[in-house]
Chain length 219, copies 2
Amino acid sequence: MADEVVLLDFWPSPFGMRLRIALAEKGIEYEYKEEDLSNKSPLLLQMNPVHKKIPVLIHNGKPVSESLIALQYIDEVWNDKAPLLPSDSYLRAQARFWADFVDKKIFEFGRALWATKGEEHNAAKKEFLDYIGVLQRELGDKPFFGGDTLGFVDVTLISHYNWFLVYEKFGNFSVEAEHPEFIAWVKRCMEKESVSKSLPEQEKVYDYAMFLKKKFGIE
Amino acid sequence: MADEVVLLDFWPSPFGMRLRIALAEKGIEYEYKEEDLSNKSPLLLQMNPVHKKIPVLIHNGKPVSESLIALQYIDEVWNDKAPLLPSDSYLRAQARFWADFVDKKIFEFGRALWATKGEEHNAAKKEFLDYIGVLQRELGDKPFFGGDTLGFVDVTLISHYNWFLVYEKFGNFSVEAEHPEFIAWVKRCMEKESVSKSLPEQEKVYDYAMFLKKKFGIE
């Protein structure tokens, strides 16, 4: 029996994007189901009753929630192609560390750039750029965080990239001007169809952020 | 050459406790180094320059930070004894999901019980007990979350237990009265020396919480 794979997702979600990229890298066919987060489907509530959040990967009827956990699951189950995590335990721990760092810092301070103002906004601007610098130093001279190929940290981080236009407009900075080598890494990732075809346009994400600001009354 | 293992830790930390339990379960000798968090050691700052937090596991000179990541590392490297994560990929994803749930919900709402007041405190009381109920249902009839033996979720969750006296006193509830089967699970864990010898006394943790309240001016 062929694997039945379903992804419950919402198009601007960085957490969903990483699963789209991983599934594309592994060459796995799946059914994409867009969720309306203001009116969640019975399937989403059934598959993720604890957090009620997307993305949820449903493999042969069984759900895996929380995107970094689902990413590891994909990597473990479809391990014959495009490995994301290194085979060495220490390097695997390091990859998990940096992926966790990305989700804690880049997401948190990126969000603060468009969703807060005043002191909090200014602090977020400094933190965000500092953390991009930390990641750039961690990348060093390697083409990818995963070495010569796209790895766990690359997939995790690039899935935040299509929010960068939002961050740059609200932060009034250019990541390329501040950290050109980081953007060189972005371009290497974008050359891969698994990445470029999995991410929405930055302008569309920007419009969505503007919609959210209005909806939640953030001026 | 024998493995050189060092643990940078701070005695009341639930995040440190889980590594002490795992190292004891695996029978690994290590050097315990207590950190003074108000005056962090140069070794801690060198080994965890990004977050500057304990616990840090140092294995043959190389650091692993973030406790759930270090727990997985211990399980992967010393895989000949007391496996914590199941070998099946789906069950492994589930174990990671529940460990993440524990750290998000039990820690967050437990902390709110002693560190907040008014509405936030009252909401935390309800949430905390609800989440213990969720965990009890997930445990079901099994002796341990890991099945017949102590597993990844057991180690993660029991390491929060010695803060329960704090939560119960400030929340004015008894977990045993509300969720007796949860406490039956606690007792099964405590029968293991790897657990009971790794955890500080609840009264000592309570005194520490009182000290923190005073230090941070939380009345």
